[in-house]
């Protein structure tokens, strides 16, 4: 594949699916440095995956799988920003935070997602983004019935937490 074609596809995917990528980044990385680092890793894997994309699946499914895969591995490997030392290469950020008013309910939801273990976090993102059991099974590689059990537990947990939150704060 020519570099120019690959770059065009990359730009189109990143532009069109940036909300998806941002969600994964925010669910798995909690400081701005780490979010930049994870976004960079996800972007590199997306770039590398382009020649392998055979259009057997939807682009969103493909990108979610890559992003989740990188995120699951990234939390395992990432140590570099936790000790306060910084790589010079990472000083120039790819992502700039938008100065929008903070949506407190969305913030709360992300905090609840952060508390889940990393596999449940993946399922929660897919669930909230409206993926079907079949699509989730395809992305994660586990059975629909297994997905169903995990989703039941996650839904129950999140609605219970929201009731507690409403009781205390709203």
């Amino acid at each position: 594949m020519r570099n120019k074609t690959q770059l065009d596809i990359f730009d189109r995917w990143v532009t069109e699916f940036k909300p998806l990528l941002f969600k994964v980044v925010r669910a798995y990385a909690f400081t701005h440095e780490d979010q930049n680092d994870l976004f960079q890793e996800v972007s590199i894997q997306i770039w590398r995956s382009i020649p392998n994309f055979k259009e057997r699946s939807k682009v969103s499914t493909w990108l979610y799988r890559i992003a989740l895969n990188v995120a699951l591995n990234w939390t395992r490997n990432n140590r570099k920003h936790t000790d306060g030392k910084q790589n010079i290469e990472s000083v120039t950020h790819i992502l700039e935070q938008v100065n929008e008013p903070v949506d407190e309910r969305l913030d709360w939801l992300y905090k609840e997602i952060e508390k889940l273990d990393k596999v449940d976090r993946s399922i929660t993102l897919l669930l909230l983004d409206g993926f079907s059991y079949k699509e989730m099974a395809e992305i994660l590689g586990i059975s629909e019935s297994n997905i169903g059990v995990k989703i039941h537990r996650i839904k129950k947990h999140l609605t219970k937490q929201s009731e507690i939150e409403e009781h205390h704060a709203i």
Partner: protein
């Protein structure tokens, strides 16, 4: 709050992204890192392969052309050839790994586990089989060649350093394999409905 309400909160972020992407920085970093990763892996593998080949070649020259070889140097030729084979296998594993994009998260995990299991067994072989063999053979070769004692001492120190590095590498591979296994266990476990 019902789950549908949570989904509405979640969807609200689609219309107002939380970040702006600096495209020029993204292009620069992605292209640079993609190139750099390939180059680093390539040169590391080639250094290992060529080191084994050159060392084996030099020994073959002295053993067969100059006819100065002994049993131990013949065995060393085999050991250095094994380093070359090790480098080639590592290169193959890396190339193979990059072709695993059309799988599920579980598929990628299983692939990563099989690669890491292979790396653990290779590094175990290096640590407990290869390095001790190289040490004994080279030490006997040094003793037989009537070199001063400090030659053997320096060689011993170098061997201890290499063993530490090899042990550290082996530990890294074991940790990686165990973490991947735990992740797979977590992904495939089916909790009871309560």
């Amino acid at each position: 709050m019902q789950f549908n309400d949570l989904q509405k909160i979640w969807d609200s972020q689609n219309s107002k992204p939380m970040y702006v992407i600096r495209e020029e920085v993204l292009h620069e970093k992605v292209l640079a890192k993609a190139r750099k990763a390939g180059r680093t892996a390539n040169s590391t593998e080639w250094i290992l392969i060529l080191t084994g080949l050159i060392a084996a070649g030099i020994l073959v020259y002295f053993d067969f052309v100059k006819d100065e070889g002994n049993t131990f140097s013949f065995i060393s030729v085999i050991l250095f050839s094994l380093i070359t084979v090790y480098g080639i296998i590592n290169r193959f594993l890396r190339k193979n790994k990059t072709e695993s994009f059309d799988r599920s998260v579980l598929g990628d995990l299983e692939h990563a586990i099989s690669v890491s299991e292979y790396q653990v067994s290779l590094s175990k072989g290096m640590l407990y089989g290869f390095w001790p063999a190289v040490f004994i053979i080279s030490l006997l070769s040094l003793i037989m060649s009537d070199k001063p004692l400090w030659y053997s001492l320096i060689f011993g120190i170098l061997f201890i350093g290499a063993s530490f590095l090899s042990r550290w590498e082996h530990r890294c591979y074991i940790n990686r394999r165990d973490e991947l296994r735990q992740l797979k266990e977590k992904l495939t476990e089916a909790p009871e409905l309560k």
